[in-house]
Every structure is written in C-alpha cells, then in structure tokens.
Symmetry: C2
Subunit: 363 residues, 2 copies
C-alpha cells in the first residue's frame, strides 16, 4: 500500500477514512450477530433499526420538512432518469416537463424522459461544451409543466447551479448526485431531489430519493414495481431486498458527517478546499480551468494542461506520488479533481503543491 493516497476519482469516490476503517472492523461480526452486515436479513430487527436511524440522520442533516419522504432506490441515479418521468409526468394532462441541459447527465436524463412524455429543453450550454449553467428565465416555464429538471452539480464539467431556480408552483426536480450533503439546501423549495450514492453518500448501486409526499400520487398503474416511488414509501424501501450494504455505509457516512459538524461545517470546509485550488488555477497560465468562473463547482474542479504530452506526464507523475484518479472525463478531456466531502484539506494542499512543482519543472 502506498504511504498516503489521495483519491480524486469522480465516483465511485473516496469515502471518509473512519468510515472505511469501521466497515473493516465490523465486517466479521455486525452488531454481535456473528455474521457480516451483508449476511443478515433485511427484515431483521437489527437492519430495521439501522434503516430507521439512517432516515433520522439524513433528515437531521438536511433539516428535512415533515412533508418529504426519504427513499432508498435501486439502480443508482440513472434508473431515476426513467423513474422520474414515469412517476411525475402525469401530474398535468400535457405530460410535459422542462429540462436544463447543463451537461452529459442532464442530456441523458432528458433523452430518457422523452420515452415517457413531451420534454422541452428550456436551456442548453452544449455550444460552449457545458462550461456554464444555462440561463433560467421564469417566463419560459408554462403552467402545463409537470416539473422542471436540473442537474445541480455537473460532475464531468465542474459547474453548478449556485442558486436553484424558483419554479413557482411547478415542482423542481434536482439531480444532486455529485453534491448532496456538501452545502446547505432548502429542501422546502424542492419537489424531488435524488442522488446516486457513490460520491458523497456511500457505495454504488443505490440512490436516495427525497420526494414531497403529494408527488407520490401520479405514477400510472403499469409502472414497473421497483420504479414506483409510492411503493418504496409504503414499504420503507423494502418492497424487495434492498442493497443492505449500501444503506449500512450511508448510515456510517451520515454519522461521520454529524461528528464533523454537519452540512453547515462541511460546506465551510468544501468552500475552503475549492477556493484554495481555484485561487491557484487563477494565478497561473500553465493550467486552464474548463468551467466559467461564475459557474464553478466546489466538488469537481476541471482543468487542462498546455499539451496532451504534458497532461499524460502530469497524470502519471501524480499517480506515482499517491494523487490518483485525476484523469478528466473523455467529453471534456484534461484533468479533474473531485473533492467531495471525504477529501480532506490536506489532499487539496498536496495536489496544489504537486501542481506547482510540476509547473516549475515543465512550464
């Protein structure tokens, strides 16, 4: 094992070290049951206790209003690209929804939704390779819309909606996969928020859906049962055997977050981490940021080097010193540092030191 590894992967991503250690420590014997957590029934009292505790930890972390439900759903975020239109598009007879295409995942979500309704791309930043968030104009949203959809943080391009659009009476649906629990959000303004777990929550293969309870009523009778949010709500996410390991890890992550001081405190740390990296990027001409400065994410920082050769060398040497998984997504190229909740300030400092040194040698 390398001395210290800082894993900057976009996801499945680094989890807090105390969480990883706790999983290992508990693995042969969960809650004195003589079995690992992956070998116990999802119907056992021990698992039910864990699930209820996880609900409460999440609700407390985000100050969730009482009229919202917490669901743990199969398939990660992309399964929700189908489930959201299936569950919500029937809210209005026009079967219409407005999507803001701020990146790859928003584009894929809109394309998938077209199978189920009339999807309007209300804003689109593809012409600048998604380096910014499309403009939101309230007048563009008509009252026939069942919902408005945004990707709040764009993992691949390193942009985010700093403020969520005010969509009035039309429910706002937010894919917060790569920034859930990273900053304060007013859930009372949202219709539905969802996130694949594999960035700020836990392992892959599950998503959390937070839904306003009145939106549980619009799925048609032929909805595939495990895409039906109302069933998840009625069965406490156990209509069938859920991904119990993932829920266990989410529970540990939420406890860690609470110990760290909660969302408010982690937001301060996240803002410091991002500022440290962006300040350095802004002061050099060697590295070039991809995201427009007004739209920058504090979770994913995208930048490039002067040439492909230098990029390759950068990625190789970074890996050698334990700064791993910095390669950017193929659709934007360059490098990307994902600095989710679990990345400590020390990791960002180590990265900036390395970047400076690399610039000095190769600039």
């Amino acid at each position: 094992m390398k001395a210290t590894v800082y894993n900057f992967g976009a996801g499945p991503a680094k989890l807090p070290i105390p969480v990883i250690r706790k999983i290992q420590e508990d693995f042969l014997d969960f809650k004195n049951m003589g079995s690992s957590v992956i070998e116990i029934s999802h119907r056992s009292k021990e698992f039910d206790d864990l699930l209820c505790e996880t609900d409460e930890l999440f609700k407390e972390a985000v100050s969730l209003p009482d009229n919202y439900r917490v669901l743990y759903v199969h398939g990660g975020a992309q399964m929700q690209f189908s489930a959201i239109p299936i569950n919500l598009i029937g809210r209005k007879p026009a079967r219409k929804a407005f999507y803001y295409e701020s990146g790859n995942f928003a584009r894929i979500a809109a394309k998938e939704a077209q199978k189920f309704g009339n999807i309007v791309i209300a804003g689109n930043s593809s012409d600048t390779n998604y380096d910014r968030i499309p403009e939101f104009k309230p007048a563009d949203i008509d009252h026939e819309a069942s919902y408005v959809y945004i990707t709040s943080n764009n993992t691949i391009f390193g942009t985010r909606w700093h403020e969520f659009p005010d969509t009035g009476d039309t429910p706002l649906v937010v894919d917060a996969t790569s920034e859930i629990l990273s900053r304060k959000m007013d859930y009372s303004k949202l219709g539905l928020l969802f996130a694949g777990a594999q960035k700020n929550l836990g392992p892959s293969g599950i998503a959390m859906v937070i839904i306003r309870e009145d939106l549980l009523e619009y799925a048609p009778a032929d909805t595939p049962k495990l895409l039906h949010y109302k069933l998840y709500d009625e069965k406490h996410s156990l209509a069938n055997t859920n991904n119990t390991f993932a829920i266990y890890v989410i529970n540990l992550v939420l406890k860690w977050l609470k110990d760290e001081g909660g969302v408010e405190r982690i937001q301060e740390i996240n803002e410091k981490k991002a500022a440290f990296l962006y300040d350095y990027l802004d002061g050099t001409d060697f590295y070039k940021g991809h995201a427009h400065p007004d739209h920058r994410s504090i979770m994913n920082v995208t930048f490039n080097l002067p040439s492909q050769e230098l990029l390759d060398l950068f990625l190789k040497q970074a890996t050698e010193v334990g700064l791993t998984a910095l390669k950017g997504h193929r659709s934007v190229g360059g490098a990307r540092a994902s600095i989710y909740n679990a990345m400590p300030m020390e990791g960002v400092e180590a990265l900036v030191s390395f970047m400076k040194e690399f610039e000095q040698k190769n600039g």
Copy 2:
C-alpha cells in the same frame, strides 16, 4: 462474537467464510490501489479486469454455451419480474406468457407481468399452500407463447423443480435465485435464467441474468434504459455505475466455488446436507416437514413444531447456541433452514444435534 455461528437465514444469506475474510483483509487496499474496492472507478482497468474474470469464472462454473450472455443487473430478482415481460413478451404478437405459480415469488412475478401482457397461470399449487410443484403438461403451452416462466426453487416453501420442463421452441425463463450454482443445470435448454445475488452469489442489490442472445431483440423502444437487457449486453453491464461491491463479492464467491471443486462437487455436498436433515425429519413425528417429499428443495428445508409455544422456544434456544435465523416465512410459518452452498456439513450436523436434543427434552 459468539464462538461459532451457523446462520440459516434465507437471504441475504451466509457467505463462505474465506470470502468474508478476504473482503475484510482487502478492504483498506484493493489491488494495491490505496483505496477500498468501493472507492474505485467502475471504468478503471482494475475493475474491468475483475468484471471480465467474473464472467469467465461464471461461464466455466456452469459450462455456459457461447450463445448466452452474462449480465449484472440492478435491483435484485424482483426488478426482473418487470424486466422479463418488458424484454420478452413482444417475441410473439399475442404478447402471451405462461407462468407456473409454485410459490409467493412466482405469484408476485405473474402479477407484475400482467402489467405488460397476457399472462396465463398454467399451473398453481396455492390450494396446498405451495407444498409441491404444479404439474407441467406440454399440451398446455401453445405456440403463441412468448415464454414459459418457472421459479426453480421456492425459498419460502422449500420446494423445487427437480427437472426443468421441456418447453420445446418456447423459451423457458427460470428464476433460480435461491439455487443458482447449487446443482448442475443444462443452460442450453434455457431461454433466460436469473438470480438475485443474496443467496448463493453475494450481497443484495444486484441480480445476474443469463440470456440466450436471440432474446435480446424484443424490448420496445420505450423500455426504461436500465431494464433493457440489450443495453446491459452492449455496455458490459456498465451503462451506468453498477453495484461494484456486489460484483467484487460475486467474483470471490466464484473463486471459492472453483477451489471447492465446482458445481458438480458442491451439488454432492448439498445433496448430502439436505439428505441428512430430511432423513432426520422423516424419522420423527415431532417435527413436520412442509414440502411434499417428492418436491423437496435441497436449499431450503421447511418444518414445523407441534405448537407455537414450542416453535418460539425452539427458535430462541437455537439462537442462543449460535444456530441463527431459523424462523420460517410468515406465509408458511414454522421453521426454515436455508442451507445454501456456503453452509458447511458441520452446520447441518449441529442443527440436527440440536433438533434431536430439543425433541428429547420437549417431545
């Protein structure tokens, strides 16, 4: 931790001890990456190697013919209750399929399938509380059928199809969740076989689907993308981030199975384990088996005690001596010993010893 625990839970179930130890051992540093397996990219070379190796191990274990594909799908077995009719019912214009209702899961699967086509219950053993497998009569299946569906082993009731029905040109679809890899099966006779992982394969939250390649072609254009088998096949089950932890554990389980001598050898052991338990049950009037002797499962052994009081005492005392999770499903009552591949003969011997002792004291 209790000295020795034998976990007889129906699922998520006991896994082989060497697998559980290996997960723990590797957890802080997977393949010298300085990260746990749940923190690495599903697009990394390391994960791709793991996935390819898992395919090969599975194909070798079951002698899979070349015209079958191995898919790792989201949502466990029950998601397939929707995906199967969505993908296959359009094979014939009548949109018809025949289901054999041999237990709860078959019943739920048939009910779900009715959303998508014309479902005929061709056989049903509900009148005897599913204590046997319904009779299969080839003449009942007409040529308009898109497929014939069975649950090969009925976890809750402890019955199984010893031989699979010969459905001729109509593809046979098999839910093998609670017996995959437990006995030799001729995959060349099957259209599709699927299994939730949480019994003989690994942790919950994923299923494996083995599908004959010609059956990939019948899903309609509006299929939710992560229910579409063809997409899983084209993207090597990585159309989105899959449950990477589960695939890793499945890999370890398949390696363990190979070390044990493969499916043929584990079948011998499984048959011995089951015979040991059934022989004892057949020689006593104190415990009563639920399954008809001609239809008994070798994975789930169901029995009851003379009274509710004795059952409660039995379950309590069993747990105290480390024989855990023996409570039967509410729809059949009594006790159930799930003796999947990972349960060693010693566990079954310990259970029978305890049962004898309990009978002597309370009989």
